[in-house]
Each structure stands twice: as structure tokens, then as C-alpha cells.
């Protein structure tokens, strides 16, 4: 319990630092947003008025504090290009991303661990060699290309699954429709992380299987299945869980490509569009929300690891 509190307290400066980075990175862009909004033919008068309206005439530190105060109250400003509150847009888009990334994370955790354990158990056997090679291919594949191939194969040629969107345009909606639309993007997104987790699980299991307590468990006559799946795997999980936390970041970021390929209405695609239209408030809001949720997810992974490993008491 004390550990939980301590970890929670440690998250606060990280979140603050994160807002400082996001704010300073985007606040001192070359070219000012007022010109971007009003276009190249704006009069200096209008630009100045808009600057005052946006609070851009104040010193940077004060601007940051005002901005921070606003976002703490849930006010991320308005998107210039969409003309709606940033938070509404971000939350709507982020929930779509969460569905996609969550599904992918589940898939890659499950498959990655299964493949990794299988490889470790059959070390240097044929299934190990094949799966190890597949894992290298997995971490090397550009997901935006894999997505295109998946669309070509399963949507264009076989016509099994829809190629784009989250719901069918006509008569869509409901869980079944969502799942049909989710399968291809989630699989595509999970491939790279599956490869990473499989490789790590394999080496973590091999590391653990060499240890004395495995030999001791065997000496007690404990069955080989139990030795591997209970004793060894439980110890290996302590090193695997933090990596799943890190992979959550890769999946959340990699969603950008998959959302673009599959026209998934997620926050990644929103960010790419916002960058192209220089919609700074929207970029800031999107990055802060996604990064903060990633920090919180890692906090959860940390706590899970702590619950599993009684040795971490500090």
C-alpha cells in the first residue's frame, strides 16, 4: 500500500514534465498561430487582437501556467480547424484508439508469451527455429505495409472482412460489426509487439530455466509441465510484465499507421491531420492525453509487477 502511494507520488512530476515538454515544444514554433488561422493577408491589427485573445502576448511562463490551469480543469482550448472543444474531439478519438490498441495489446501479450514459452521449451528444435525466425520477421515488418497486404488479401480478394472504418456506413453499429472491423487492424497492429514479447519471453524463460530452483523443483519430482508453466513461468513473468508496459507505448504509437491505413477514426489519425493543418491546440491536447494515459498504464504495470514479486518492498 505504501508502495502504491509512493509510485503515485512519483507519477506527478513526470506528468508535469510531460506538459512542460509538450507546451514548450509547440509554443515556440516558427510562424505564429494567428497568421496560420487568419491566413497570409491578415492585417497586423487583426493578428494582434487574436494574439491577445489567445493569450499569446503574455510571457511564456505565464502562458504555460494559464494553459496548465486550463487543462487541469479539462479545458484544452478549441480546435481551429474543427471548431469544437479539443477535449471532446480528443476523447472521442481516443476511445476509438483504445479499442484498437487494447485489442492489439491483448493479442500480442497472449501470442507473444505463448510463442516465447514454446520456443524456450523446444530450444533449438525446429519449432523454436521457425518461431524465432518468425519473431525476427515480426519485429521487422512495417505495419503500414502489412496492413495494405491484409486489405488486399482479406478485403479485396477474399472479401471476408471490411477494409476500413470502425462501423459499416449503412446499417452499421453494434458489437458484431465493431469486431468485424477490428480484426484486421488489431492483428496488423499486434504483429510487431508480438515479435518483441516473444523474443523477450524466450530469453527470460531460458534464463530462469537454468536457475537452481528449477533443478530443485525437478529433484522434488514435480512434473515437467508444472516446472515450466508454474515455477519457471512465474519467475519469468516478473521480467516480462514491464516489457508489456513498454509495448503498450509502441502499440499506442504504432496505432497511428494502422489507423491511417484502415481509416480507423482514432487519435493517431487525428494528430496527423492536426499536424498537417497546424492545429496546435489539437496536437497539444492529443499528445498530452495519450502520453498521460501511457504513464498511467505503466503505473499499472508497475503495480502488477509489485503484486507479483514480493521482493520489491521499497
Amino acid at each position: 500500500m505504501r508502495y502504491c502511494l509512493k509510485r503515485l507520488m512519483a507519477v506527478v512530476p513526470v506528468l508535469l514534465g510531460l506538459t512542460v515538454i509538450v507546451f514548450s515544444m509547440l509554443a515556440f514554433l516558427p510562424g505564429d498561430p494567428a497568421t496560420a488561422i487568419l491566413g497570409p493577408y491578415a492585417t497586423p491589427d487583426n493578428v494582434e487582437r487574436l494574439n491577445r485573445q489567445l493569450g499569446l502576448d503574455k510571457p511564456p511562463a505565464q502562458q504555460y501556467l494559464i494553459w496548465l490551469g486550463n487543462i487541469l480543469q479539462g479545458d484544452f482550448g478549441r480546435s481551429y480547424s474543427l471548431n469544437r472543444p479539443v477535449l471532446d474531439e480528443v476523447l472521442e478519438r481516443f476511445s476509438a484508439t483504445l479499442v484498437l490498441a487494447g485489442a492489439a495489446l491483448l493479442l500480442c501479450t497472449l501470442w507473444g508469451i505463448l510463442i516465447g514459452v514454446r520456443c524456450a521449451v523446444a530450444q533449438y528444435g525446429w519449432s523454436d527455429r521457425l518461431l524465432t525466425l518468425a519473431a525476427v520477421a515480426g519485429i521487422s515488418v512495417p505495419s503500414f505495409w502489412l496492413g495494405l497486404l491484409a486489405i488486399l488479401a482479406f478485403s479485396v480478394h477474399l472479401r471476408w472482412l471490411p477494409a476500413s472504418g470502425m462501423f459499416a456506413v449503412y446499417g452499421g453499429g453494434g458489437a458484431a460489426d465493431l469486431v468485424r472491423h477490428l480484426i484486421l487492424p488489431a492483428l496488423t497492429l499486434s504483429v510487431v509487439a508480438t515479435g518483441v514479447i516473444a523474443r523477450l519471453t524466450r530469453s527470460a524463460m531460458l534464463e530462469v530455466l537454468r536457475q537452481d530452483f528449477v533443478c530443485a523443483a525437478r529433484a522434488r519430482g514435480i512434473g515437467e509441465r508444472r516446472v515450466i508453466y508454474r515455477h519457471a513461468f512465474k519467475a519469468a513473468l516478473v521480467t516480462i510484465i514491464p516489457v508489456i508496459g513498454v509495448q503498450a507505448g509502441f502499440v499506442l504509437g504504432g496505432a497511428v499507421y494502422v489507423e491511417t491505413v484502415f481509416q480507423w477514426p482514432g487519435v493517431g489519425r487525428m494528430l496527423v491531420q492536426a499536424i498537417s493543418t497546424r492545429d496546435i491546440q489539437l496536437v497539444q491536447g492529443g499528445v498530452v492525453v495519450v502520453a498521460a494515459s501511457y504513464v498511467l498504464f505503466n503505473l499499472l504495470a508497475d503495480l502488477a509487477q509489485h503484486a507479483l514479486d514480493p521482493k520489491i518492498k521499497t
Binding site: 533449438y124 492536426a274 499536424i275
Partner: protein, 633 residues
């Protein structure tokens, strides 16, 4: 059968070669691609930006366009080669920038430590709080779209990875002797870093680069794919893919081909990188990451020659175990060991470290880790049954049930994440089916039998919460869980304090009396052995050199080595300092032809080194393997 074994023994070697063959393949592909990319201006290719709307969207194989044309009629092969050139260049530069910046930060943090370290690493942690690609996106948003900006973004995102690993490597050597010596010699910091630190962390930087360069090519291609990297007409592989995406259904080759090129390049880099890591990481090179099997590999050369077991509980005849690993000389750890243990008897197995006594103990139930261990011959009879011929299920039924082990280091032998009670109940229930509660009650009974104070509370604790002595009590309780006939204790007191040692020995002696337990007690200490054992077997270089009743051997040792060992044992109040045996035991991969002890022996004569020395009977109960024993028959 022998063919299968032959194949198995070469499997590890094969895997090593396969890995390096894959790395070689990666290197080859990469070399070809890089050469083509570098030679792009010299190749007889059309201008990649030359549009020809009349010949747009030609299929691959069209005349003059081996890979077809894109939506503006530009030659795809030319664009692919030039795009690869650009993508490779961007990836390599991004990785160089990240390596340079990250290494500077890492070395500064690791070398100076303290405040500098704290400040730099907090900053790095901050960067790592962002999801990987999101940070790159935010940086591109700040700098504006463009290939160079995408390159910077990807490089910055990878800095933390370099900084962290380089910092770790630097901190590990920043206070080693040679660095301190350079400091004391008045060398300036930058010269120490350049001369002492950098050469030592260079492998770490290389490993980090081999890990990240593939990602960086992927990520810059990804940013270009999103339209945030290279801008038209300039095209890298990613932007080719992005432009071709809209034509996916009518002209899939326009986007599929550049994507395949990215894939091939990155796979080659990663295969090569795995090879580089294997080569640079000494731990992987030594093959230590191989997984020991559930039973030691058995390849008995003497399969036909059976002995007739007598009535003894345990009879070991001619046991041989060797360690075989690819690229190293075979180590002959156990070279024909004979042991006999009667019911209720205690046999001490004594020898210096490396004499093969632990390997002998583990080989009895097929627990010597293989790879690398191979049992090369002999018989292990438990009440007349040859254990080395038993199948795994039979062996498993004996392990822990009839023959149990106590290990040297109880902290390592207990599962770190399971409570003491859970491990005990598991040990009980894997041999005897019973409800969990009954097993727990029995476990508590066991803990009380090994004099564990507060048994019920201890059962709920984890091994790291116990003291060393209590842990070994748990180890003993685990060994006794199923009332075995024979317990093999492998230096059970070596890892403990002297006072705790005495308590554990007392406990073992007491339990042995109460339960009429047979015991094999492995040790290097005659003082410990004399308290507990009826008989002694002295081991040297994988052979039993002398055996007999404990008091008899202690009083009148026959083998010069035994005599030396006895002189080594410190005695309380015996003013004389214990005398060490001069010299070192022979290496297990270069055993001498004759008596293995001869090079260290004061009584050595020519015959000792001429050939194998047989074990001879000294009296009814004693045997010795010496041509000129101290005690005559």
C-alpha cells in the same frame, strides 16, 4: 538410436551455425542492397522523377519498366533504387545522431555521477514517458513536415535508449582500478573518457546501434508514409508507399514493392544485429542460455555390461559424466565412480571443489544439467533397479519420493515467488494425492520437525524473508516431505554461518537417527564429515581414490591425498596452522594418463604417471587407488 543421439549432440552446434548463417545472409542481402543504393547514379536507370503520363500504371514486366510505372508514369525500379538510397541514408544518419547524442549523455551521466547523473537521467526518463512514435509526431509537429525534420525526430526519440545502456556500462567501469589509476596519474577527464571509458563501452554502443537502426529506418519510412517525412518530388520508400496506397486496388504493385523493400532491409539488419549481439555478448557466446533438460542426457558406452546388484540400498558402479559443449574441450567430471550405501547408513563424499562430487550427486537421479552434461556410462541401482535405464515418469516417481536432495544454497534452490508453505504442500501433493488442507497440515508438521520456530507464520512467508539457517531448514523439510529412504545432501552447510552450520548438522544427525535415513553427505570438510558419517569416499579428479570407515580413514589414511585433506582440516585449539596441499587439481579437460594426483604428490614415482592406477582392496572395508599407499594391506 546412436544416429539420433549423434544428431542431438550436434543440435546446439547446428543452432549456432544456423544463427550465424542467418546473420551472414542478412549481411549479404544488406551489402547487395547498400551497394545498389550507393551505385544508383551509375546504374543504367531512367530518371526516377521523369513523368510519362502515356505509360502510367504499367504492370511489372512491362517493356522498359521491369517493375512497372506509378500513377505519373515514373519508372518504379529507378524510384525503388533511389528511394532505398534515401531511406538507408536517413536511417544510418538518424542512428549516428542518436548514438552520438545518447552516448555523450550516457557517458557524462555514468562518469560524473551524482547531480549530473540525476539531472540527465531525469530528462531521459521524461522523454521515455512518451509513447515512442507519439514523441516523434510531436517533434515533427513542432519542426514542421520534411525529411530532415523526420530524421531529427526519430533520432531524438532513440536517444534515451542509447543514453541508458551507455550510462549503465560507463557507471560499471567508472570506478574500476584502471580508471582510478588514470585519475591518480593526473590524467584529464576527457582523456580518461577517450582512452579508458570509450573503448570499453564501444561494444555497448554497437549493440544498441544494431538494435535500433532497423527501428529507425522503419520509423522514418513511417513518418514519410504519413506525409510528414520526405515531400514530393523527393521520395523515400515510405513516401512511395504512401503515394501508392490510393491505388491499392487497381495497381497494388506501386505500394507493395517499396514496402517489401523496407521489410527486406529491416529483416536483414535485424538478423545481422542478432549475430552481432551473439558475438559481442560474452554471456550468449558461452552458450549459457541453453536450457537444461528434465533428465541428463544418457549415452552409455557400456550398455551391455550389467553388474549384478546386491542387497545394498544404493549401488553406483562405474558412473561417468562429462560436459560437452560446442567449441570447447570436453570436460571429464566423473570418471568411473563406485559407491555403495546401505539402508540407514551415512556416506560422506569428500573432495576439493571441482573434484566432481556434486556432479556425481546430481547424476544419480539424472539432474546434472544437460546440455552440457552427458552421462557416459555406469549403473545406478536403487534397491536393485537401474535408475539410468528408467524412463522419465519412473524417475520422476523416485525423485523426492524415495531419494531426495538438499541443496547447497537454499536461497537459490527455493522458488523466490512462492511461500514456504506453498512449496512444501506442492512437494507433498506431487507424490501423494491429498486435499490441500491435509497437505498444509503435514507441511506444518514437517516445519516443526526441522525445529522451525513459529511454523504456522513461517509457512506464509517467502524465502527472502527468512534467515539463511531457516531457509536450509525449509530445504531439509522439503527433502523429508515424502519420507524418502535416501537423502543426498550437497554441501548443505557451506553457505551458512559457522554457528548455524553446527545447528543444521545436529538436526541432520538427529533426523537420521529418528527416521533411520540413509544419507549421502557431500562436503569438502573432514571436520564436518567426522561428526555425521559412518563411511567416507574421497574423490579426486572425478574418481574415488579412497573409501572406508570414517574413524579408520581419519586415524590411518592410506592415500597421500586423503592424508593431505585431513591435514587441511582446522582443529579447535590445535595450535598448528592447517597445511594446504601444494599445487592445483588437474583441469577436467586435460586429465593426466596415470594417477591424477601424481603431479602434487610427494611420494610420486615413475610408475605413478605411466598408466591407469586401479583401485585395490586394503582390508575388508577399505579400498585405495594408489600404487604406494601410506598404509600397507
Amino acid at each position: 538410436m546412436s544416429g539420433a543421439r549423434f544428431a542431438a549432440s550436434f543440435a546446439a552446434l547446428g543452432a549456432l551455425l544456423l544463427r550465424h548463417r542467418l546473420a551472414g545472409l542478412g549481411a549479404l542481402v544488406l551489402l547487395v542492397v547498400a551497394a545498389l543504393a550507393a551505385a544508383a547514379p551509375l546504374l543504367p536507370l531512367p530518371n526516377p522523377d521523369l513523368t510519362d503520363l502515356a505509360n502510367r500504371l504499367q504492370r511489372p514486366g512491362a517493356p522498359g519498366h521491369p517493375l512497372g510505372t506509378d500513377h505519373l508514369g515514373r519508372d518504379l525500379l529507378a524510384r525503388l533504387v533511389w528511394g532505398t538510397r534515401l531511406s538507408l541514408a536517413v536511417g544510418v544518419f538518424a542512428s549516428l545522431i542518436a548514438a552520438l547524442a545518447g552516448s555523450c549523455i550516457g557517458i557524462a551521466a555514468g562518469f560524473f555521477g551524482g547531480r549530473t547523473d540525476n539531472l540527465l537521467m531525469r530528462g531521459i526518463d521524461m522523454l521515455m514517458a512518451f509513447p515512442y512514435i507519439l514523441l516523434a509526431l510531436a517533434i515533427v509537429a513542432a519542426l514542421g513536415p520534411g525529411l530532415l525534420n523526420a530524421l531529427y525526430a526519430v533520432a531524438i526519440v532513440n536517444i534515451p535508449f542509447f543514453a541508458r545502456s551507455v550510462r549503465g556500462a560507463t557507471a560499471a567501469i567508472a570506478h574500476r582500478e584502471f580508471v582510478d589509476a588514470a585519475r591518480l596519474a593526473g590524467m584529464r577527464n576527457w582523456r580518461i573518457i577517450g582512452g579508458e571509458i570509450l573503448p570499453n563501452v564501444a561494444p555497448v554502443i554497437t549493440i544498441a546501434m544494431s538494435t535500433t537502426i532497423g527501428w529507425m529506418i522503419l520509423e522514418t519510412a513511417g513518418l514519410s508514409f504519413l506525409g510528414l517525412g520526405s515531400q514530393p518530388p523527393q521520395a523515400d520508400l515510405g513516401s512511395m508507399l504512401g503515394e501508392g496506397r490510393n491505388l491499392l486496388i487497381n495497381a497494388p504493385h506501386v505500394s507493395v514493392v517499396p514496402g517489401a523493400m523496407i521489410f527486406v532491409v529491416v529483416v536483414s539488419i535485424n538478423l545481422l544485429g542478432d549475430g552481432v549481439r551473439d558475438w559481442l555478448d560474452p554471456r550468449l557466446r558461452a552458450g549459457q542460455l541453453s536450457r537444461p533438460a528434465a533428465v541428463t542426457r544418457i549415452e552409455r558406452a557400456d550398455a551391455g555390461a550389467a553388474h549384478r546388484p546386491d542387497g545394498a540400498l544404493l549401488q553406483v558402479r562405474g558412473l561417468r559424466t562429462r560436459f560437452v559443449s560446442a567449441g570447447a574441450r570436453t570436460q571429464y567430471a566423473v570418471n568411473g565412480v563406485d559407491l555403495t550405501v546401505d539402508a540407514g547408513q551415512c556416506l560422506g563424499l569428500i573432495g576439493e571443489s571441482g573434484s566432481g562430487k556434486s556432479v556425481t550427486a546430481l547424476s544419480l537421479l539424472g539432474l546434472a544439467p544437460s546440455p552440457p552434461a552427458v552421462i557416459g556410462g555406469g549403473r545406478v541401482y536403487l534397491a536393485g533397479e537401474d535408475l539410468l535405464a528408467a524412463d522419465f515418469e519412473r524417475l520422476r516417481a523416485i525423485r523426492g519420493r524415495r531419494v531426495a536432495y538438499i541443496f547447497q544454497n537454499p536461497m537459490a534452490a527455493l522458488h523466490p515467488l512462492m511461500t514456504v508453505g506453498a512449496q512444501l504442500t506442492e512437494a507433498i501433493r506431487c507424490h501423494r494425492r491429498m486435499p490441500r488442507q491435509a497437505a498444509l497440515d503435514e507441511a506444518l508438521g514437517l516445519l516443526r520437525q526441522v525445529r522451525m520456530p513459529g511454523a504456522a507464520a513461517r509457512a506464509r512467508q517467502y524465502p527472502h524473508e527468512l534467515s539463511g539457517g531457516m531457509r536450509q531448514r525449509v530445504g531439509i523439510a522439503l527433502a523429508l516431505a515424502n519420507a524418502p529412504e535416501l537423502v543426498i545432501a550437497d554441501e548443505p552447510t557451506t553457505a551458512l554461518d559457522v554457528t548455524v552450520q553446527a545447528q543444521i548438522l545436529q538436526l541432520l544427525a538427529q533426523l537420521r537417527r529418528e527416521r533411520n535415513l540413509a544419507l549421502i553427505f557431500v562436503t569438502h570438510d573432514f571436520a564436518v564429515l567426522s561428526q555425521l558419517c559412518d563411511r567416507v569416499a574421497v574423490m579426486y579428479a572425478g574418481r574415488i581414490v579412497e573409501s572406508g570407515p570414517t574413524h579408520d580413514i581419519l586415524a590411518r589414511p592410506a592415500h597421500p591425498y586423503t592424508a593431505g585433506l585431513i591435514r587441511c582440516a582446522p582443529r579447535l585449539g590445535g595450535g598448528r596452522r592447517p597445511a594446504a596441499i601444494p599445487g592445483l587439481p588437474p583441469a577436467a579437460d586435460r586429465l593426466p594418463r596415470g594417477c591424477a594426483f601424481a603431479p602434487r604428490c610427494a611420494r610420486r614415482r615413475e610408475a605413478c604417471e605411466a598408466g591407469k592406477v586401479a583401485s585395490t582392496r586394503l582390508s575388508a572395508a577399505r579400498r585405495v587407488r594408489c600404487l604406494y599407499p601410506l598404509e600397507a594391506a
